[in-house]
């Protein structure tokens, strides 16, 4: 594989272009008309002046053929102009910039909970000897992964906010209002980490070098900590992309249940009202995050795993 920076950058731009074009095509093919939706919201099915509708269409670049619209959108994108939201009249870049910090705070807090929790469960499942506990630790992740996020969120709200009054149900007032949504979002991620790491630990423990170390009398914890975990953690890195996807998808639900602002809420509202410019902005943002994450993962692999470092030189 060619790994020159230019090649990588080209690849990244290609992915962004593909994401942009694909989402444009899908949104264009959707039945429904964004301007009609905008006007329908104004309530009264009054007679609308076609000239005024045409003016609105032109203003939001929704007139012209598919290719004209696509070309125009791509040209504006190249000038870093993401357009204006049809629903709110706000520039898309500003809407994204306003929504991103809340989502980032949520996603990072979720990761802060998910990574130690996932790793902890995987390690505990490996180390614990009591049968029922071990079975529980092995099976819990599969169960948690299959719980719907909105349901977990509502349950947590019901218990900790409405019943015990410990934490607020809404708003963004510092740490307190971040706890419940972060836990909600973290649980499936932690379960996924625990599943992958648990399997990986199990397979590394079967390898001859572990047997050898064990027969040399290396202690259980030392063996796990120093030798098994280091090798077993490499598959976790390939999980980063999936986790990012999980966090973004989970943000839509979590932000809705906890009435938080963020990219997920923005995306959900924009899709519902076919606010094309905003949907495209969100898609581009997500694609950029993916590209950056994958780039970072690719760069980290060789650092963690000497085999890949050597393998890359033929």
């Amino acid at each position: 594989m060619n790994s020159s920076p230019f090649w990588r950058l080209g690849q990244a731009l290609l992915v962004l272009w593909a994401a942009f074009s694909l989402s444009f095509a899908i949104l264009y093919a959707l039945p429904g008309d964004p301007v009609a939706i905008l006007l329908a919201q104004s309530g009264e099915p009054g007679a609308v002046d076609p000239a005024q509708v045409a003016e609105l269409r032109a203003r939001y670049h929704l007139d012209g053929s598919l290719w004209q619209q696509y070309g125009g959108a791509l040209w504006r994108l190249l000038q870093l102009d993401l357009g204006v939201s049809l629903q709110t009249g706000k520039p898309v870049a500003a809407a994204l910039a306003a929504a991103l910090p809340a989502t980032l705070a949520l996603a990072f807090s979720a990761l802060l909970i998910a990574v130690p929790l996932g790793i902890g469960v995987a390690l505990a499942a490996h180390q614990v000897r009591r049968r029922p506990v071990q079975a529980a630790l092995h099976n819990a992740p599969a169960l948690v992964v299959s719980l719907p996020t909105f349901w977990v969120g509502l349950l947590l709200l019901q218990l900790f906010s409405f019943h015990l009054h410990w934490l607020p149900a809404m708003g963004e007032h510092g740490i307190a209002s971040l706890v419940l949504p972060a836990v909600t979002l973290a649980l499936p991620c932690a379960a996924m980490i625990a599943q992958v790491l648990g399997r990986s630990i199990a397979s590394v423990s079967q390898q001859p070098f572990v047997q050898a170390l064990r027969s040399k009398g290396v202690g259980r914890w030392q063996l796990l900590w120093r030798h098994i975990l280091h090798n077993a953690s490499i598959p976790l890195l390939s999980l980063t992309g999936t986790l990012l996807g999980n966090l973004l998808a989970g943000a839509v639900v979590t932000e809705t249940v906890f009435s938080r602002d963020g990219v997920g809420r923005l995306a959900q509202a924009a899709v519902a009202s076919q606010d094309i410019a905003v949907v495209q902005g969100v898609v581009l943002l997500a694609a950029t995050l993916y590209v950056l994450t994958n780039l970072l993962t690719d760069l980290l692999y060789p650092l963690l795993d000497p085999r890949i470092r050597q393998g890359s030189r033929p």
Binding site: L39, Q41, G46, D49, G89, L154, M170, S259, D261
Partner: protein, 528 residues
């Protein structure tokens, strides 16, 4: 999506575990209104655009109402139009000219005066907003001129008779903004760059999160039907956007919000069981109705349309709607001015329906469906509203007389596209306005014409009803037009829309204005 009934069922079941709602302020509450406090109000969706001149959705209008004053006000009980910014007015005999005389000393929040020139600038700006100000634009349709006849006197002339304009002048859609605001772009105004003369001013608007408005300390020109003078009792109002109904319910019960503006039918029982106070009111205007597209077979046949109206047993609806809702008894809701009970035109008459269809050649086949020349009698209905149980009941009732109704729950986008391209057999909608003129805007053959029909004598009735402010004359015309719409099967009314607002015990003086939107000027908090 994650909105199935299951969530609600869980939320409702769990809400039952909660203790009593917060009632610490209920006992020994002072009878005197208190100044101060921040009222926390929950909305179910983002207002998108909080400029009342442009907005149309309820959340936006609920915010907008607090920011602007109107020329007149409408008594929610009597529907009478009463003074607000205008102390008095004259309407010409032909309902084309309206002269308003403003009260003195009213200012916008930036200190500029609210005078005749400001009224002129506002109305002209609304017309210039075009399709962006659809609601307000409809009210001002046919505007010929706005003349400043004195510092505080303004004359508004229409090209045609426009009796509804007097009521329209009481709406937030025709509320007034300062000249600086009118110079801003439509988009900036949507985002909250709004300076009105109302009791509250916009402080913050963060999409999908919150709108915060604060009381104006020097406000002193409330409507003539307001409960007090001077500034609003509350210091501020925070509108929080809580999309999940279970979260709104739990937040209200646990005292994290004060007012829930959107109570779904499923939550009513819980709130009642917990003793949570609430107010409710039918939305005035056109009830939830089906309107046939008469340019399409077989709805072009009078007998078929009439049979549909006769085959529906409206008394059964009560089982599937809110306890605060009523089955329709006319095309207009009971809270609409000039409403008259026309339920005799909507009587359940299955035999009558069967006979009409038989006579028209639609005979029941072996499978129970009616057909003619091998074609089954059936219609498709695409809708997006949360009224599926009512429509399913209609489906079952029509099935009994052999008519097929195919329901397709769709998105607002898809449905509005069908409507603009006239690609529908039946259109399902309701429309909120505290004036019977909605009939004209919706049904007039040269208006929105939801029936896609040619001119009829009915148009004369609709036009004449818009031409007179004489209550008795207008009432008769509205009744004749409504009855004609029902008898000709141009509308199949089903159920009234209703708004239910639940609130904490500590909230006092919460009430609806004439169009069933909330007005917070007289609202106060016990122990703010």
């Amino acid at each position: 999506m994650f909105r199935p009934l299951a969530i609600l069922a869980i939320a409702v079941a769990l809400a039952g575990c909660d203790g009593k709602p917060e009632q610490q302020a209920a006992t020994g509450a002072p009878a005197q209104p208190q100044t101060g406090g921040v009222l926390r109000v929950a909305f179910d969706g983002d207002p998108n655009c909080i400029d009342p001149q442009q907005a149309g959705n309820n959340t936006a209008l609920n915010v907008g109402r607090q920011l602007v004053d109107s020329l007149t006000d409408q008594d929610p009980q009597s529907a009478e139009i009463l003074p607000w910014l205008a102390e008095r007015w004259e309407v010409s005999e032909d309902s084309r000219q309206f002269s308003f005389h403003l009260r003195e000393g009213v200012t916008f929040a930036d200190g500029s005066p609210l005078d005749a020139a400001a009224v002129k600038a506002n109305f002209e700006a609304i017309v210039a907003l075009g399709a962006r100000a659809q609601l307000a634009g409809t009210y001002l349709a046919g505007l010929e001129s706005v003349e400043v006849t004195g510092p505080l006197s303004v004359r508004i002339t229409f090209r045609q008779a426009n009796a509804q304009f007097l009521q329209a002048s009481s709406t937030m859609s025709l509320g007034l903004f300062s000249l600086d605001t009118l110079k801003r772009s439509a988009e900036e105004r949507c985002q909250g760059a709004l300076v009105g003369s109302g009791p509250f001013t916009v402080k913050r608007f963060e999409h999908n999160k919150l709108v915060r408005i604060e009381a104006r300390p020097d406000y002193n020109w409330p409507s003539s039907i307001a409960g007090h003078q001077g500034r609003a009792w509350l210091d501020a109002i925070e509108f929080h956007i809580l999309p999940e109904s279970g979260v709104r319910l739990g937040s209200l019960l646990s005292g994290q919000i004060d007012v829930n503006t959107s109570v779904p039918v499923q939550d009513e029982a819980v709130l009642e069981a917990q003793g949570v106070p609430s107010i409710n009111r039918p939305n005035p205007g056109i009830v939830f109705s089906l309107t046939p597209n008469v340019s399409r077979a077989p709805l072009d046949e009078l007998a078929v349309r009439q049979a549909l109206n006769k085959a529906i047993d409206r008394s059964q609806f009560q089982g599937v709607i809110s306890r605060y809702q009523k089955p329709a008894s006319s095309v207009l809701a009971t809270s609409t001015p000039y409403y008259q009970d026309l339920s005799s035109h909507l009587a359940y008459d299955p035999q009558g329906a069967e006979k009409l269809l038989d006579d028209a050649g639609w005979h029941k086949g072996a499978d129970g469906w009616r057909q003619r020349h091998g074609k089954r009698l059936g219609f498709a209905l695409d809708y997006w509203q949360a009224t599926t149980p009512v429509l399913e009941l209609v489906q079952q009732q029509l099935r009994k007389v052999g008519v097929e109704l195919r329901l397709n729950k769709s998105t607002i986008g898809q449905v509005s596209l069908q409507q603009t391209s006239l690609d529908y057999s039946l259109w399902f909608f309701n429309l909120t306005r505290a004036d019977p003129d909605v009939l004209r805007t919706v049904f007039l053959s040269s208006g929105r014409n939801v029936n896609v029909r040619g001119p009829l004598p009915l148009d004369r009735l609709l036009l004449d009803s818009a031409a007179s402010l004489d209550a008795q004359k207008r009432g008769t015309l509205i009744q004749q037009a409504s009855a004609e719409l029902l008898d000709q099967g141009h509308v199949i009314p089903l159920v009234e829309a209703a708004t239910v607002t639940a609130f904490r015990d500590a909230v006092r003086g919460l009430h609806y204005e004439a169009s069933t939107r909330l007005q917070f000027y007289d609202t106060w908090l016990v122990q703010p």
